[in-house]
Symmetry: C2
Subunit: 255 residues, 2 copies
DNA sequence: AATAGCGGTCGGCATTACCGAACGCTTTGG
DNA sequence: CCAAAGCGTTCGGTAATGCCGACCGCTATT
């Protein structure tokens, strides 16, 4: 097994860094963050600039992500089989549940939203496609963790971030929640990431039965949960049915 | 001027190839398309896979774009100053004109849509953000060409593609259209890309007065144009005003 | 059952990209 | 107003780096 190409790894690290940071970064900051020499970093950035993966602000000389990435990102959506197969089912789930539907896959210790159907009523909503959710504070993430689609280790080693007072931060409680998820076949997160918001999710399996993603509904806690703070069983049923339908479409015969 | 990093250039070429093709590509096809040895191509692909820029289909071994690109693409939108400064103006333009509004920047001999406001009525529309339009068959593209924001040479050398019978394919007629655009300060494309569709666009200038993008309205030809096939002057006025407002926001003092 | 085509691997060579110091330039502080 | 620190950028030497092409095992064809 030959080694990976370092310059590409470094280029990818730079792009991730630019995506993670708030906005533009200077050459020095990039070099320092990755522990590289300024000259090396400059060469990589110049190359990335020549292929439109990064842009440089004329005035300040700082670097930011480039336009070519936007086209690559939407091209990814076009070829993503999980997304294309699920569109019919997610539309139906949104219509029947009356809630927003989101589809997530694991990426770099987070949940990447690859599809988002707005809640049928016409309230203002922002498109979540392309955003990253935390694994431990979302129903989508818990499902991916529970079924091994996303690695658990990084979370139990470093203390996970507490977004609200309901966020699960102890690895003991997290493990219990994941066991319950495996037991029940679905997960919920009630005000664990944003106060007032809740979501329910169920696993999607591909060929061979491996969990490759998760689908779920999300919305204000008073719509998702009953008076005791438990998710409505009807929403849970609709979500699980949608997840099973998508799995079947993907070729997961029984499950 | 030191040379750019070849492995990164090649990696970018592979990603562009995967984005351009219909879907998955095999290792051999990629290697042949780029004129590289299979071993070299495999090394790059393996590296891109390790950073989630490409994924490999377990069953067939073919490669496709990876999930990380989606997040990078949306992160680009978040930091794009042209887009963020124009949002208020494009919303207003859509509301006043009653038509869909799109914002484009040049990318690789095409127009990349970086923002899209749906037509206010609730007809079904697909989000164009991230798509590429041809320079010579869209109003957005003609504006970018006319003001030097996109290079003209590749188009006049190779015969441009004819999408409909109204598409401008002769470089003579294209040059005349661009001269008229510069003269008038706006451009239109009526059924030049898709029969029944038309759009109007005007240039957006950044600091220093250079054209950095274009904004325009688009829709069915019977809504955009009058009975003689000319764009409604009211829509032209609204579009040019919006473009001027965005330019001012970007720091283009007078123009 | 034979074979052509696929993705993947491995070793040797030389090209490759890395590093660190030096250069203008702008911006900050005195 | 000048000094000086910080920025992005350039440049040459070096050895480590990734490239190449032949080889392997497998699948799917004929």
């Amino acid at each position: 097994m030959a080694g990976p190409v370092q310059s590409i790894e470094r280029a990818a690290a730079i792009l991730r860094l630019l995506a993670g940071g708030p906005g533009r970064l200077g050459l020095g900051e990039v070099a320092a963050s990755l522990g590289l020499a300024k000259g090396t970093t400059h060469g990589i950035l110049r190359t990335l600039q020549s292929v439109d993966f990064v842009e440089q602000d004329e005035a300040t000389g700082k670097y930011q992500l480039g336009a070519a990435l936007l086209h690559l990102g939407t091209s990814y959506l076009d070829v993503n089989e999980l997304r294309s197969r699920s569109i019919n089912w997610t539309d139906a789930l949104a219509a029947r549940s009356g809630e927003a539907v989101r589809l997530g896959v694991p990426l770099e210790g987070k949940v990447l939203i690859v599809h988002h159907v707005f809640r049928p009523d016409d309230t203002f909503q922002t498109l979540d496609v392309g955003s990253l959710l935390p694994l431990h504070a979302s129903a989508l993430g818990k499902v991916l963790l529970a079924y091994g689609a996303a690695p658990l280790e990084p979370l139990v080693e470093g203390e996970p971030e507490a977004y609200t007072r309901h966020t699960i931060v102890s690895s003991q409680r997290l493990n219990r929640a994941l066991a319950e998820t495996r037991d029940a076949g679905w997960a919920a997160a009630v005000q664990e990431m944003i106060m007032g918001e809740a979501d329910i999710a169920a696993p999607i399996r591909g060929q061979g039965g491996l969990v490759v993603g998760a689908v779920g509904v999300s919305g204000p806690v008073e719509r998702i949960c009953d008076s005791k703070g438990h998710p409505h069983t009807s929403l849970v049923g609709l979500t699980r049915n949608a997840a099973r339908a998508i799995s079947r479409d993907l070729g997961a015969a029984r499950w």
